[in-house]
């Protein structure tokens, strides 16, 4: 999908570099996401997907390059203003300290409340709606510790939605989800994107990435290897270069979506050091 001139660029990162203790995690990365687009970040473990998402959300301060959100420089924006337009769903839900699911989702309203304000009926309603969309409303009174990993992940998505962001960043949103919820959650994000939300998600599952994203960015060792539409990017040669996995790409006859069959590691040693979900899926 191309970004023409009159689509405002929601996220525009140019030549972003980030290193920690002499280890370069991002090396001159360019990523752009136009309003109402769903951009997928794919790449092997350690490629820099999470680091990139954390940089775009302002959690990490990049050393070089520039990030702008809706045309405004991320570094000049107060954290509160960023939180009012951008939400991040973390990959690993943090310790939740005994808060209930509803209390946690309601925290999504904090960036919109003044120092002396408390949540109004409207905030309550927004939080409940976010829980309805993510099918987490039954968890409301339960503490997060009593929920499964996938249930917690959906609660954190509900909190991000309660933030009413215009930009949604998701770090492996489906990593703990059962197959039903992989489809419902990515379907939900897709519907929100069609309604004008901008989403950038790190996704391990290439089939899901192909099916739901408009644009894919392949990262490897902190650099953008290639990017483009799923059809352009998901070629057996690209997949082998980025992941070290031989694959076949075809049109799935039932859904009509692009489908990737992972065949085998291209070379045994590469696969051995590359023990992520993709290679183990190839083994089954």
């Amino acid at each position: 999908m191309t970004m023409n001139g009159n689509t405002p660029t929601a996220v525009d990162a140019r030549a972003v570099s980030f290193s920690v203790e002499a280890k370069t995690l991002l090396d001159g990365v360019d990523v752009r996401a136009g309003r109402g687009h769903f951009v997928g970040l794919i790449g092997p473990n350690g490629a820099g997907k999470s680091t990139l998402l954390r940089t775009l959300s302002g959690i990490l301060r990049h050393q070089e390059g520039a990030v702008s959100l809706e045309g405004r420089d991320l570094e000049s924006l107060p954290a509160r203003d960023v939180a009012a337009i951008l939400a991040l769903v973390p990959q690993l839900a943090p310790y939740t300290q005994g808060f209930t699911a509803f209390e946690l989702v309601l925290m999504g309203r904090y960036p919109h409340l003044g120092r002396f304000q408390v949540e109004s009926q409207t905030d309550d309603r927004i939080a409940r709606e976010a829980m309805r969309l993510t099918e987490t409303e039954d968890f409301g009174p339960r503490t997060l510790e009593t929920l499964s990993g996938g249930e917690r992940q959906r609660v954190f998505l509900a909190r991000a939605l309660a933030q009413q962001p215009r930009i949604l960043l998701l770090d492996e949103p489906t990593s703990n989800l059962d197959i039903l919820h992989q489809l419902t959650i990515l379907g939900l994000v897709r519907r929100l994107v069609d309604g004008g939300l901008t989403a950038i998600a790190a996704i391990h599952d290439l089939n899901l990435a192909a099916r739901y994203c408009d644009h894919l960015v392949v990262l490897s060792e902190g650099r953008v290897v290639t990017e483009g539409s799923p059809e352009e990017v998901l070629q057996p040669e690209t997949i082998e270069a980025a992941f070290g996995v031989r694959s076949a790409v075809y049109r799935e006859p039932v859904t009509g979506a692009l489908a990737i069959s992972l065949i085998e590691p291209a070379e045994e040693p590469v696969a051995a050091t590359n023990g992520n979900g993709v290679t183990s899926a190839a083994g089954r």
Binding site: V82, T100, Y110
Partner: protein, 358 residues
């Protein structure tokens, strides 16, 4: 019975924040008033509750029946300031404990354990040992404030060495600093030149509220009220900090500044408490802990309720301390530890799962 209680508490947690605050405040404020009135009437001079009420009402300008001069003096000059100091100290320790437990994401944190109280105590002991407190009255409280805040920032400084902040380092550094400051206090005690000073230091270290007067109220109470108000304003940010630095930052909290302010303000409240009462153990640990089990972890409720709960805890402990070995007095710090420690252990055993998932 147990089920009914749990259902009530669960219902409480589903109420809006304003309702939770209002209900908690009404219940705990009523408790503060009842305990306060009972405490005012008890002591070597027995004063009936009716007379206590008259004395207080006439004190604020109401017409009341006659009561004895002695009774009035005992209430106005001895018991009332002492009870207000006790309530303030309890409130300070309660909010400081609640804040630190949130800040450190650890239910074991409290001003006593991370060395802030020990810093205050060292400051006070230095003031006594050097003879400064005998020279002018404000020396001891000033040294206690300085000690508490210096200890807090020493611990924080250790945790941020190298530019990378670590919460675990903060807690461990606190434990180490606590031990170190305790050793300095012990060394000072051993080298004290005369027994009079030694007695004064030891007496003060045990933590007590005897002979607390209006000047102590003036030193501590406004500071503690101000710190509590400030911590309440920051309690929403503290909720997010409890979930981790990244979480807090991505939700718009300025993590570094907020953490320093929370630590400084809770150290100030602790310093104010230590300055007028010595080190009173376990109030800062137990109070927020018990309230969190009942009311949930939301600091917007927990911090003000810990202030009131801590006040009740110290007022009750002080009343018992005054009466238990009449005509002599038990030190309130000994009593809070004596009752607080077994109570806390019982609670740990009973709620093992919740405590660890906290």
């Amino acid at each position: 019975m147990q089920a009914a209680r749990l259902a009530t508490l669960r219902g409480y947690r589903q109420m809006g924040i304003s309702a939770r605050l209002a209900i908690g405040a009404v219940v705990l404020l009523a408790l503060v008033l009842v305990v306060g009135l009972v405490s005012l009437s008890l002591g070597p001079v027995d004063i009936s509750l009716r007379h206590v009420a008259w004395i207080i009402l006439s004190g604020v300008g109401f017409e009341t029946p006659e009561f004895g001069r002695t009774e009035q003096l005992v209430i106005e000059q001895i018991r009332l300031p002492r009870i207000i100091v006790g309530a303030s100290v309890g409130a300070a320790l309660g909010v400081a404990g609640a804040t630190m437990q949130g800040l450190f994401r650890n239910p074991m944190a409290d001003p006593g354990i991370i060395g802030v109280s020990a810093g205050g105590a060292l400051g006070a002991v230095v003031a006594i040992a050097a003879g400064l407190s005998a020279l002018f009255f404000l020396a001891l409280p000033l040294f206690a404030f300085a000690g508490a805040i210096a200890a807090a920032f020493l611990v924080y400084g250790i945790a941020v060495v190298g530019g990378h902040f670590s919460m675990a380092t903060l807690l461990l550094a606190g434990v180490a600093v606590n031990a170190f400051l305790g050793a300095i206090v012990s060394a000072i005690i051993i080298f004290l030149p005369d027994n009079e000073l030694l007695r004064e230091v030891l007496f003060w270290l045990a933590g007590g509220l005897d002979a607390r007067a209006w000047e102590h109220v003036r030193i501590a109470t406004p500071l503690i009220a101000g710190s509590t108000a400030l911590l309440m304003l920051l309690s929403r940010d503290l909720n997010l900090l409890m979930l981790g630095d990244d979480e807090a930052r991505s939700m718009g909290v300025r993590v570094g500044v907020t953490r320093v302010v929370l630590l400084a303000v809770s150290a100030l409240a602790t310093g104010a408490a230590v300055a007028v009462s010595g080190t009173i153990a376990f109030v800062g640990l137990v109070t927020p802990h018990v309230l969190r089990l009942a009311l949930g972890p939301d600091n917007r409720v927990l911090i003000p309720m810990s202030a009131l709960g801590g006040a009740v805890f110290v007022m009750v402990a002080d009343t018992v301390a005054r009466l238990v070995i009449e005509p002599a007095e038990m030190r309130v710090g000994i009593l809070t530890a004596f009752v607080g420690a077994p109570f806390f252990i019982a609670l740990l055993i009973k709620n093992k799962r919740q405590v660890y998932s906290l």
